[in-house]
Amino acid sequence: MKVYELTGIELQRGGFRLCIDKLHFEQGRIHAIAGPNGSGKTTLLNLMGFLSGPWRGRLDFRGNTVVPSEQTALPARRRQIGYLMQNPYLFNTTVRNNIRYGLDVRGITGQSAEQRVRQVAEELNLPELLSADAHRLSGGEAQRVALARTLAFKPDVLLLDEPTANVDRQNIRAIEQLVKTLNRTCGTSVIMSTHSSDQAYRMTDSMISMVDGKIAHAGYENVFSGTLRLGNNAVKTVSLDQGPRIHVASGTEGPVTVVIDPAEIILSRKELQSSALNRLHGPITKTEDVNGSVRVLIDCGILLCALVTRRSYADLGLNIGKEVWATFKANAVRVL
């Protein structure tokens, strides 16, 4: 079951344009949206939180098509989701009243509301702050209160825009754990944006990345800018900014952004003789265990990320500092 399905979406915000051909998010899973600042993560979440419009194209929420003109019905749709905005605003009242607000607008009051407030405050290490003035909290505390306010009414669908921004390391792990627990025990569908690919990998194996308002399916890693040139026999190459030149299969001449799927990169100790046109060479600078695979960072003029199985990693005897060859096809490079 799909919780969101977007088809041919176009949304203009000032000079920025969100453009999504096809995208869907599965119910009951955690999805991460990664990408640099200004890539469109917040615009996409605002769209799915029914906060921005008008848009062109088709937006389906739980199998029902949402049309931008149904302004009066949008509050009812918003009540079906919990949306933690980036840099959230806390109301000028106590922490308790802030957390209660989402319950109040849903008609949940009295003892059951107070019980829910206490429960969510416990989960986010906030019980001592319940009577505090919300405007006197630190950035990290305010972020946790905003998250508590979003979780208080137990939404089935959770949209989180940079949920751990300004939060200290200890509480980052607590928040990540809480979101994972909610997903596991309550089946909450979570769609979160993050600029940290490490966090995205920690939370989920379902990650999309965005660049310039478009989806770059391969994940946040391996997004590079450069200049595409047409050579003899229509051979297309991209000179990456301060990096090597790589072969690509599509795109037009000029400045471009390229994305290389980490899973499409083959690692070897010696140069491979194959049909793949791109062969880069360099030492391994970092490795990380990710959901049964190993994420390997190679310094080959650019910091290239490859995803290999644990077995391949062990068989090849890879380790930090070892020299490796990274081989990938021109077709594996997506030109945006």
Binding site: G49, L51, P75, R78, R79, Y83, M85, N87, P88, Y89, F91, N92, T93, Y101, G102, D104, V105, R106, H135, R149, T150, F153
Partner: protein
Amino acid sequence: MHYIANGVKEALRIIFSADPEFLAVVWVSLLVACISTTLTTVAGVPFGIFVGRSRFRGRQAVIAVLNTLMSLPTVVVGLLVYSFLSRRGPLGGLGLLYTRSAMVIGQFILAFPIIAALTVTAVRGLDERIDLTVKSLGADSRQGFRMFLHEARFGILAAVIAGFGRVFAEIGVSMMLGGNIKAYTRNITTAIALETSKGEFALGIALGIVLLAVAFAINGSLVVMQKKAK
């Protein structure tokens, strides 16, 4: 100096003995100022919220006019309303001149720009994320507006207090439209002017102490409101 000291002594006696004439004057001031501030709040706050939240052509001009009218001289308002309410004026038939109603009308005109302009400032000073936050939490437009009012409450209250302070301490309107009629339209400021011109300082000083106390309370409230609004 001797007569000033005697005047202060006598003023304190008047205050603590609850002199009927003194109480009548304070009562008229409070009554008229409260009525005019209430009416101005009912009209000025919604107007200020509308101007502060809406985007329409001429909005900046409206704000500029309101800001300019904040320093409207009280005698000009008195003169303007007098010309309408005097027997030869267009509203002369209503017989409102030298009544408390006439004072309320004049004070309404004085306080409206203050309450409206300060409400505009309070509304424009609110965090831009409020609307989106209440929407993201599922509030409909009515619930969202209620939260907006909640967030603006200290700024709006400060506007109302400032308006009350203006009308409570004014003299031009009260003198020209009220006529300083004993036990009817004589308020603190007109009584002080009269007593001083008669050389009777004691009642004037007693009333001056009340005026200063109210001004102090108003300023204190404004400081508290401004702190809470932050």
